[in-house]
């Protein structure tokens, strides 16, 4: 399904990052994607299940949650964090600022074997061993 990807802050993301970036709480607060209930229905995915988001930069698997602030069909929201960053392009149009919002993306149910990676696994997959 073609959607517009928005990234941003949430209260939980703020609390999670202050609690500890390596904590389970942070992972739970940012490795997610808020989707409009009608889009969830169309995708045939239940809240809490993994979904794959793909942009021109790459793809990532995150847990889907039902957006409580709908209706906003066609717009998905991922909180700031390492999971959102791996699908954001680095072009800045000469301003220094990449486009973190309003990015064209495709969302689909994740395959059965894919899971939402933990921070260390995500870093290893995308950036390799130091």
């Amino acid at each position: 399904m073609n959607v517009t990807l928005l990234t941003g802050r949430t209260l939980r993301q703020g609390q999670g990052k202050e609690y500890g970036k390596l904590s389970e709480r942070y992972w739970k607060s940012v490795a997610i994607c808020e989707v409009d209930p009608s889009d969830l229905e169309a995708l045939g995915v239940k809240a809490g299940k993994p979904v794959k988001i793909t942009t021109g930069t790459g793809s990532v698997v995150v847990r889907v949650v039902k957006s409580l602030r709908g209706p906003h069909p066609g717009r998905i929201f991922v909180p700031y964090g390492p999971w959102a960053s791996v699908i954001i392009g680095s072009k800045t149009d000469g301003t220094g600022m990449p486009s973190f919002k309003g990015v064209q993306a495709v969302i689909e149910p994740a395959t059965e074997e894919s899971e939402v990676l933990k921070l260390q696994q995500l870093l290893q997959l995308h950036y390799g061993e130091k």
């Binding site: 941003g8 209260l11 703020g14 500890g20 906003h72 301003t95 220094g96 600022m97 973190f100 919002k101």
Partner: protein, 497 residues
């Protein structure tokens, strides 16, 4: 423990080192050098004061054979200084979650090593800074907003989540000298909203799942008319965003625009303000009739304020969106008093801009490679430098770019030597070569920070840091001293042939 060793103190008027609102009315209860209670803070502030000691290393770490191992402070300083002294084009990035004093030291280090010093505004309100340099802007302090503003417009920002006490301390829910708090109105509308939700849920349970019903649900929200409360004398709040947020729930009016269409909406409002006729029915997903009414509301207020967030700087148009916003405010000043202010994210990102400006002449993305400051965002900004793979080392202070930079930039960042100064372990320190745990500015170290309206406030030290954790400023000072020692020795070797 002897009874006489037990110490409990309550420290008041503590500045909260979390977001740009920089609330300075916190009360912190400390027992035996541990924060036990936090009063007046938001959820994020409370998490910071109560949870800071959870995931922190107490000794510096150095990467040996692929593993981060504990090292002494002097070893870590020597290793870092060597990396920076040998680098041809290092980047020194972060500075927004620490004190101005640490930023000042960072500028000195950048000059010494001939690197680029950039702060997090580069991926936050950098475009706003560029726009303000282009167009200028009329602004005020938050105190003026609190006492005088009767129209609050939040555009592309979600203060309820990102600056949780902004509304309560500075805008709609605060009791100003000339304006009353709208807290009671919020409570009434919240209970109405909740009842509405209950009714909706009940209707859903009984409703047939016909195709028409599914289609109706999928329709995006369209504002057809502005609520009557906007035309009243009291304090009013409008939220404009691409999706409904918690802030939108408490506003008098929420206007949903299509993603990447803010520029068009601003320009349409400007045209309508000049009594031009628009030849379309809607702009950016908002009907022209609503925009016409909105212009009336904007122009007829007594003191209006437009707070804008990164919803404008991070989407298509970037600095041009801010140009349009500032221009709208300028136009409105022909009719009434109107000001504009960016909602700065990190608590001292404004301070990082201010320090950088007074030290180098430029607020961010300052390149010292030529021995004098150069500023050309897009070229000298870290995301661009990293994406082009130009830097050969990095010092990150109080920031986590591995978590928040685009993938391409991070790839080049982690391939080169990386030094991190941060109180806690994060994604960047996991990929670093040297990690300095430091005292947390505003909790374990004193300093100065600038609020989003450029008012400087003192950061307090409420508990003592662990003995091995120095303040960021002190760690940077020691690295700088060591860099100078290395350079002097190299100079002597060259001079002696």
């Amino acid at each position: 423990m002897a009874r006489s060793d037990y110490l409990m103190t309550i420290i008041s008027n503590v500045t909260c080192p979390v977001c740009g609102s920089l609330c300075d009315d916190l009360e912190i209860e400390v027992e035996n050098n541990v924060v036990t209670k936090v009063r007046n803070a938001c959820g994020v502030g409370e998490s910071k004061f109560l949870g800071y000691s959870g995931h922190r290393p107490l000794k510096p770490l150095i990467r040996e054979n692929g593993e981060l191992v504990e090292a002494s402070l002097s070893e870590a300083v020597k290793r870092s200084a060597k990396i920076l002294a040998e680098a041809r084009y290092p980047i020194l990035y972060g500075w927004s979650n620490t004190s101005c004093e640490a930023s000042r030291m960072g500028v000195e280090l950048a000059e010494e090593v001939g690197g680029v010093i950039d702060n997090t505004s580069t991926v936050c309100h950098g475009p706003s800074v560029l726009s303000i340099q282009d167009v200028g802007f009329s602004t005020a302090t938050l105190g003026q907003v609190r006492h005088r503003a009767d129209l609050i417009l939040y555009w592309g920002c979600n203060p309820w989540s990102a600056h949780p006490r902004h509304i309560e301390r500075y805008t709609s829910f605060t009791e100003g000298r000339f304006r009353h708090s709208e807290w009671h109105k919020y409570i009434a509308s919240l209970s109405a909203f909740r009842s509405g939700q209950r009714v909706e849920r009940a209707c859903r349970l009984t409703e047939e799942k016909s195709e028409a019903a599914v289609e109706r649900k999928a329709e995006p929200e369209r504002l057809t008319k502005l609520p009557p409360s906007l035309f009243e004398k009291e304090r009013k709040m409008i939220v404009v965003d691409v999706r409904r947020t918690r802030s939108a729930d408490i506003a008098d009016c929420f206007m949903q625009v299509e993603p990447n269409k803010d520029f068009e909406v601003f320009q349409a409002l400007r045209a309508l303000l000049k009594e031009e006729e628009l030849q379309v029915d809607q702009v950016g997903g908002v009907s022209v009739e609503v925009l016409e009414d909105l212009v009336d509301v904007l122009a007829s207020c007594e003191f209006g304020v437009l707070f804008f967030g990164v919803g404008l700087t991070m989407s298509e148009g970037k600095l041009r969106n801010i140009d349009a916003g500032i221009s709208l405010v300028r136009d409105l000043n022909q009719f009434t008093k109107f000001i504009i202010m960016p909602m700065r994210g990190h608590y001292n990102v404004t301070g990082a801009n201010v320090v950088s400006t007074w030290q180098t002449g430029y607020p961010f993305a300052v390149d010292m490679a030529h021995g004098y400051p150069r500023y050309n965002p897009g070229e000298t900004s870290v995301v661009d430098i990293l994406s082009r793979g130009e830097s050969d080392a990095a010092l990150i202070v109080a920031s986590d770019p591995v978590a928040h930079f685009p993938k391409e930039a991070v790839k080049n960042l982690v391939q080169k030597p990386l030094i991190v100064i941060d109180p806690e372990m994060n994604a960047t320190s996991l990929m670093a070569d040297v990690v300095f745990p430091c005292a947390i500015a505003g909790i374990e170290a004193e300093g100065t920070a600038y609020r989003m309206d450029r008012v400087p406030l003192p950061l307090k030290k409420v508990v003592k840091p662990p003995r091995t954790c120095l303040a960021d400023e002190e760690i940077v000072r020691r690295i700088l001293k060591e860099v100078r020692r290395i350079k002097k020795r190299e100079g002597e070797v060259v001079a002696n042939g």
